[in-house]
């Protein structure tokens, strides 16, 4: 009896505890004023710009560090940042930068030419005492650098081994951000968790798997930020991220899934969109099989209904791509390019002309991956469109890393087409790595479809060596016309990056670089 009474009491207590736990714990508190809470897509790897590769990490880094140059607001053109001016030698191999005076790192040490040299030597020189704070996976962005010289305290000179036009935009890329040598010396391999830069915000705290907190740098050379602090929360699940935004747990959410956008209509939220330097395409195997014939490659471009893909599958989160270069590179984009129209009859006619009606194709599709948007649904839509003009398409689906392992070594003997997407910081990068003859997989490039056109090779080589932006633009524009006509790819979509902010957030805008810049943002 005694036991029974006790257990009943215990049950009651347990019940009461449950009821308490279930009862409203008070409506969840609002996020604090002047502190912006950002819903990120993953836990960052490190806050060392030389050591990381993910856009997710760049979003934090761009607010903590500055580079010698940066992208002008709303464009992909470089402007001065930590360097106030620069001079390029006639042959395009020597860059001399004049540095900004009076800038100091968050740890108090001074920014100067020695610091710049330290940064690039650390990344590139295997004998540098702090090279072991790597690995530095993207150091090849600067592999053209032969040496870095300190001319005087505020002047630094880079000598390249060959003219390399993308050098300046690579300096604007996160890999080129300048870290504090003092902090690297102090923390060694742990620098990535104890970062120090010159940026608008300084690092405050990193709680693993919970939050990275950065605080306003009141002494920022370009004007102190409006916010007191920014908190980056890793929320990998897109549905949960959406729920956090709806529940008020975050103020700014990046990479909103297309299907969730409708949740944010109305006055409480603002949806931001910005087309970026991204292109989603199909690599066609130009070496063998039906796509060895240009007419068949063009037929595929006509047969696929890109409007339907961007509007229905992607819910308007992308625009139809016209050629290999994304329009976000406004200065290098050929405005006169029109996308291949959706014209199944023309596609059928071209296929008949080439004599490949009813051909069977193998199509590599990935389940997901960086910049791949909604690859399975898109792949299925593409399959249906090609089916409609009489091609039999067999889809083979792979997980992302496996997929890269199949596609990057080349499609020969395996497949006729494969999905792919690239996001780059310079109009040079993608065509140079994926469209030249010298970039076939056996030579270490990404031209997995074996496209080859000597004229295109020539234009791309010339553009890389040119130092004048207008001249480069002319060469890229000519290249785009030829590549569009040759159709080594099916040009499908340019992704628009999106973000949602709550009505408490003002002065926020997305950048075409896909970086997240929070220096001017205000929160009420």
């Amino acid at each position: 009896m005694k036991l029974l009474k006790l257990s009943r009491r215990a049950m009651l207590a347990a019940g009461a505890a449950m009821a308490l736990a279930l009862s409203p714990l008070g409506v969840q508190a609002q996020t604090p004023e002047d502190v912006l809470i950002v819903g990120q897509i993953a836990e960052p790897k490190a806050l060392d710009p030389a050591a990381v590769t993910a856009v997710n990490d760049f979003r934090i880094l761009m607010n903590v560090y500055d580079g010698l140059v940066r992208y002008k607001d709303g464009t992909l053109e470089v402007e001065p940042s930590l360097a106030t001016s620069w001079d390029i030698s006639e042959d395009g191999t020597v860059y001399t930068f004049t540095l900004r005076d009076g800038v100091s790192f968050h740890d108090g040490s001074a920014f100067n030419a020695e610091a710049v040299k330290f940064n690039f030597d650390r990344m590139l020189d295997e004998n540098h005492p702090y090279h072991n704070t790597g690995p530095f996976p993207l150091s090849f962005f600067f592999s053209a650098i032969e040496n870095v010289e300190v001319v005087d305290a505020m002047t630094v000179r880079f000598t390249l081994n060959a003219p390399y036009a993308p050098f300046l935009s690579n300096l604007a890329y996160p890999t080129g951000l300048i870290v504090s040598p003092t902090a690297v010396q102090q923390h060694g391999a742990e620098f990535g968790r104890n970062p120090s830069g010159t940026g608008a915000f300084k690092f405050a705290e990193w709680r693993s798997n919970e939050a990275v907190v950065i605080e306003a740098n009141a002494k920022y050379w370009d004007g102190a930020p409006e916010l007191q602090a920014v908190v980056f929360r890793p929320i990998t699940d897109a549905n949960t991220r959406t729920a956090e935004m709806l529940a008020g747990g975050i103020d700014l959410m990046v990479e909103v899934p297309p299907v969730a956008l409708s949740e944010f209509q109305g006055d409480t939220y603002t949806i931001h969109e910005q087309a970026g330097p991204h292109v989603w395409f199909l690599i066609l195997n130009a070496k063998e099989g039906p796509f060895a014939d240009k007419r068949v490659r063009q037929a595929a471009n006509y047969a696929i209904n890109k409007e339907a893909i961007v509007n229905d599958v992607l819910e308007g989160t992308a625009a139809v791509a016209a050629g290999p270069t994304p329009p976000a590179f406004a200065w290098a984009y050929n405005e006169s390019l029109e996308p291949y129209p959706y014209d199944p009859d023309k596609a059928r006619a071209l296929l008949a002309e080439a004599g490949v009606e009813g051909a069977e194709l193998t199509f590599y599709v990935t389940e997901g991956g960086s910049g791949m948007l909604d690859p399975v649904a898109m792949g299925t839509a593409i399959q249906a469109d090609l089916q409609a003009v009489g091609l039999t398409v067999n889809i083979e689906t792979y997980e992302w890393n496996t997929f890269l392992g199949e596609v990057n070594p080349g499609l020969e003997g395996k497949a006729d087409m494969a999905e792919m997407a690239w996001m780059t910081n310079d109009p040079d990068t993608l065509p140079f790595l994926a469209l030249r003859t010298a970039a076939w997989p056996d030579q270490g490039g990404f031209n997995s479809g074996y496209y080859s056109n000597p004229k295109v090779d020539e234009l791309l080589e010339a553009a890389r060596a040119a130092t004048d932006q207008a001249e480069r633009a002319r060469l890229y524009k000519e290249m785009q016309v030829i590549v569009q006509e040759d159709a080594p790819w099916v040009f499908v979509a340019n992704w628009k990056q999106n973000a949602v902010t709550s009505d408490r957030v003002n002065n926020f805008s997305l950048q075409p670089s896909f970086f997240l810049l929070l220096g001017d943002v205000v929160k009420n």
Binding site: M1, L3, L4, M11, A14, A21, P24, L25, V27, Q28, A29, T31, P32, A42, E43, K45, A46, T53, A54, G134, P135, P137, L138, F140, G192, R193, R207, S208, N209, E210, A211, R233, P234, I235, T236, D237, N239, T240, A243, E244, L246, A247, G248, G249, S370, Y398, E399, W400, N401, T402, L404, G405, E406, N408, P409, W422, L433, G444, G445, F446
Partner: protein
């Protein structure tokens, strides 16, 4: 008893050794490597080669295995590529979070499940039995991740009683109150299915015991019915309920993977999923070995508990 425990512990060593080989081979065989995963679009053969060298992945497989095993035996699980952090620190942090979630859930489902099973058996075919059986069927049939998402929508987004995700508030005190408010929804979502299973099996275990002679004797002796059920019958039925609890504890622990994803609970399950996608070899290997060791220890504990309850089982 000490000898028995020691014997079980020694026999666990080959199991762990086998697991370390299996997880190592699987990570070495799956397509895609960490260098490619890190470089993404920029994974040229040349870049991959260089990065592999920097990461120490260019050595032969056998050599890598023994380096890893040797280091691990000295307590060094290596450094995670994707988090740039000691694997052991990360696993311990994450395992703590999983234990809080799975432990709470386990206590919830054990208490609720046994109580429901006992009540059900005591009132066989009565109204309470029918109601409980129906509720249990419903609970078993709902996938926990779906239930979790529905809970978020209702209790966090619409009613705003609980936070959506995470373990601690971003701002404010990290006290028990804060933990409970973050823990409630995921722990409940995780407990529902296991509660159903435990309730079903407790019911049948109790029904079997209630038909036995010593129960009739107790009733004939005039023992109060409540005492017959909760004291005499339940104690005897526990022998068959405890192994079920052991199985369900494993189930709750593995089910935590989904729940951790949905509620962004910083546990070891979510860590492993992320690590596999990023091909973070050392983190996956270290995490799996650690979790496996915990399973083994847990199973031994259950067996020991059972042999304490029922001396006949001891072998």
């Amino acid at each position: 008893m000490a000898g028995y425990i020691l014997k079980r512990l020694i026999s666990a060593l080959p199991v762990l050794f086998g697991i370390s080989i299996i997880v190592f081979v699987i990570m070495a065989m799956i397509p895609g490597d960490p260098a490619t995963a890190i470089l993404g679009s920029y994974a040229t053969p040349e870049n991959v080669e260089k990065l592999k060298r920097d990461l120490g992945l260019d050595k032969p497989m056998m050599q890598r295995y023994f380096i890893w095993l040797g280091n691990m035996l000295q307590g060094d699980f290596g450094r995670s590529f994707s988090l740039n952090r000691s694997v052991l620190d990360e696993v311990l942090d994450r395992f703590g979070a999983t234990l809080i979630l799975a432990g709470t859930s386990f206590v919830l489902c054990s208490i609720l499940g046994i109580a429901a099973g006992v009540v059900s058996a005591a009132r066989q075919y009565g109204l309470a039995d029918r109601a409980i059986t129906f509720a249990v069927l419903l609970g078993i049939s709902i996938p926990s991740f779906f239930l979790g998402m529905m809970m978020i929508l209702i209790f966090a987004v619409k009613l705003r009683w609980f936070p959506v995700s995470g373990m601690w508030p971003i701002y404010g005190a990290r006290d028990l109150y804060a933990l409970i408010s973050h823990l409630t929804l995921p722990a409940l979502s995780l407990a529902v299915v296991a509660t159903g299973v435990i309730a079903r099996l407790s019911r049948s275990a109790m029904l079997e015991v209630l038909r036995q002679d010593f129960i009739r004797t107790a009733r004939a002796k005039g023992v109060h019915e409540r005492s017959v059920i909760w004291r005499h019958a339940l104690r005897a039925a526990m022998v068959s309920i405890i192994p079920v609890l052991g199985v369900q504890a494993g189930f709750v622990l593995s089910g935590a993977v989904y729940i951790e994803m949905v509620f962004q609970w910083p546990g070891v399950g979510r860590m492993l999923v992320d690590a596999i996608l990023k091909r973070d070899i050392l983190l996956v290997q270290g995490g799996v070995v650690f979790v496996a060791a915990c399973y083994v220890i847990f199973n031994i504990t259950v067996d020991v508990a059972q042999s304490l309850l029922d001396p006949r089982i001891k072998t």
